[in-house]
């Protein structure tokens, strides 16, 4: 903290006496602490700069060798092939990411929101007290566990066995459905928080006017909590888009534009993890693809995140 500089005229002698205090040891210590704290806060900004910086430098280098249009609009992704066969169209990876995420959200959004409504509006207090922490623990189960489950149980036993669908060992359907299960606790938990935050007076007012439980839940609480619910959905979508190891294990590693969910699809994140495992040499074109794809992925998740912040701000209802 800066010491206030005071200089006042002293009356008796008519001369000027400088009353500026020299900083005491104590205030110097306080200043040092403050500087240290600012330094710590700057680490997080430096992290962002390092992420963006490393991605941009290598991505620019990548576009020095591959034209941007070929990357963005090309329909074949084959960066590891021999030189004459190489192709750098990112669309199959983007499609794989969108496709698997859509399957996941098709499961997680209805199940997650219905679970959230149940917990916030219908469940007895005893049930809520148990289920809520369980959901939070489930949201923290490592994704490799879901990958193991999808590959060794869900694909062979449920999809092929019980449902009798002809799927490959690696397929988008299994990866997507299990990813739905992975995202579900996150959506349910965040949406439930939003609905529980709606003040009881709104519900009581609606009940007083003769509304049924169903009407209160769907027409009063749900719209009132909309901003938080939208945030929960986007959070879920952004987890799905960035999910790596589940798709790597269960979704396979073949980039594809096919709309057949029983086939293998590779996603952007899974590609990055798959290719960087080997000892690829720094600066080679395979090495550079990591950054071009990673940058694309980062841009997509940032757009989702910014959209979520905007929507929340726009639709936020403030209750006293």
């Amino acid at each position: 903290m800066a010491e206030p500089r005071l200089a006042a005229a002293s009356g008796a002698m008519g001369g000027r006496v400088d009353l500026t205090r020299t900083p005491s040891a104590r205030s110097r210590f306080e200043g040092a602490i403050r500087a240290g704290l600012i330094g710590a806060a700057c680490i997080s900004v430096l992290t962002t700069l390092a992420i963006v910086g490393s991605l941009i430098v290598e991505t620019v280098q990548f576009f020095g060798e591959v034209p941007i249009a070929d990357f963005l609009f090309g329909t074949r992704w084959a960066p590891t092939f021999a030189e004459s066969q190489q192709s750098f169209g990112v669309l199959p990876l983007v499609w794989g990411t969108v496709f698997v995420s859509l399957i996941a959200l098709a499961v997680a959004v209805p199940l997650g929101l219905l679970s959230a409504i149940y917990l916030a509006e219908y469940a007895p207090q005893r049930v809520r007290k148990v289920v809520k922490p369980v959901l939070e623990v489930l949201a923290g189960v490592p994704t490799i566990v879901f990958g193991y489950f999808a590959l060794t149980y869900f694909t062979p036993e449920v999809l092929r066995g019980v449902l009798g669908i002809e799927v490959g060992i690696f397929n988008a359907l299994s990866a997507g459905l299990i990813m739905g299960l992975l995202v579900l606790p996150t959506i349910a938990s965040v949406a439930e928080d939003a609905m529980s935050a709606v003040p009881a007076s709104l519900r009581e007012g609606a009940f007083g006017l003769g509304a049924s439980k169903l009407q209160v839940s769907l027409r009063i609480v749900f719209p009132a909590a909309l901003s938080g619910i939208v945030a929960a959905l986007i959070l879920g979508a952004s987890r799905a888009v960035g999910e790596t190891v589940l798709v790597l294990v269960a979704g396979g590693q073949i980039p594809s534009l096919s709309i057949d969910p029983t086939e293998s699809h590779q996603t952007m994140a899974a590609f990055v993890a798959a290719i960087s495992r080997g000892d690829i040499s720094t600066g080679s074109i395979e090495y550079l693809t990591i950054f071009a794809v990673g940058f694309t992925l980062l841009v997509i998740t940032l757009v989702l995140n910014i959209a979520s912040i905007r929507l929340v701000r726009k639709y936020r209802q403030v209750y006293e």
Binding site: L138, T152, I290
Partner: protein
């Protein structure tokens, strides 16, 4: 007649259609909750039934073998995970808490740079973990720091990954300490730092440590960033220092899951059981801490 009875007589009786809609919605909702919990229960049952028989003292203390599944264990992965957790904690606790203290106690929200830090942390929390792996690869393993795929590089990468989580949770804990505590301390002549050190931090320590434990449990479950920076696969040695090659439980699980030999896949289930027991223990400690030391103001 009491007011309530009058009200009851005035409110229209619900029609049969309303009742049917209500019943239908309840049915759908119970179905959804049922499917959700059934799916998650089957998931847990699957790895427990596959893996429980694999876990033994030998499994915990043997090194992974590439040839003989029965004598293949998780010692190097377990030791690697414990080391990673320690490095991560050493880095993330001071950095995360200091940032949170700065943002809550010092920062003037009107300044652009403070808002920048805040928006930045929000966005960092949403960056996919594989991108942190790319950062680790380009900045720590190769590039400027050039450490190679060593234990310290893995620890730093994971620390950066969970730093935003720790900051966010620590801020909430600090914010929960009422202003009157600070004002009382300042009025008695304490400096701002003395107030923070002697009043605010002790008052928020339960919330902060709960957050740190949950963040660490997230860190040790991460596979993608460690895959990208190039953690060793099935090493038959423990890491000897910060500059030693390493592996971790999720990487070992990944490697065994990919193995064509079914007996190795069963080892993956065993390793999942070990990892889940560690995570459950950490979560229980976090919940216990929260309940035991939570301050009521």
């Amino acid at each position: 007649m009491t007011g309530a009875q009058i009200a009851a007589s005035v409110i229209p009786k619900r029609s049969g259609r309303d009742a049917a809609a209500e019943a239908g919605f309840r049915g759908t909702m119970y179905g959804a909750v049922g499917i959700a919990f059934l799916g998650l229960a089957v998931l847990i049952w699957d790895f427990t039934s596959d893996g429980a028989s694999v876990v033994s003292w030998d499994f915990l203390t043997s090194f992974p073998s590439r040839i003989i599944p029965e004598s293949s264990g998780v010692q190097s992965a377990l030791v690697g995970t414990v080391y990673l957790m320690a490095i991560c904690a050493v880095l993330v606790v001071p950095l995360g808490v200091a940032t949170a203290v700065y943002l809550e106690e010092y920062a003037d929200e009107g300044r652009w740079y403070n808002r920048l830090i805040e928006v930045n942390i929000q966005n960092l929390a949403s960056v996919p973990s594989v991108v942190y792996g790319i950062l680790g690869l380009a900045f720590i393993v190769r590039g400027p720091l050039g450490m190679g795929p060593v234990l310290l590089a893995g620890g730093i990468t994971l620390a950066l990954l969970v730093l935003p989580v720790v900051i966010i949770v620590a801020r909430e804990a600090i914010r929960a300490v009422p202003p009157s505590i600070r004002e009382g301390s300042l009025a008695l002549g304490a400096t701002q730092w003395q107030t923070i050190w002697k009043q605010v931090l002790p008052g928020s320590i339960a919330g902060i440590s709960t957050g740190v434990i949950l963040a660490l449990s997230r860190a040790i479950g991460e596979t993608a960033p460690l895959l990208v920076i190039g953690a060793a696969v099935s090493p038959r040695f423990n890491p000897e220092g910060l500059d030693s090659a390493f592996t971790a439980l999720p990487i070992q699980i990944f490697a065994w899951t990919q193995d064509p030999n079914q007996e190795f896949v069963a080892r993956a289930a065993g390793a999942i059981c070990v990892l889940m027991v560690i995570l459950l223990a950490m979560n229980s400690v976090a919940i216990w801490l929260r309940n035991r030391y939570e301050q009521k103001w």
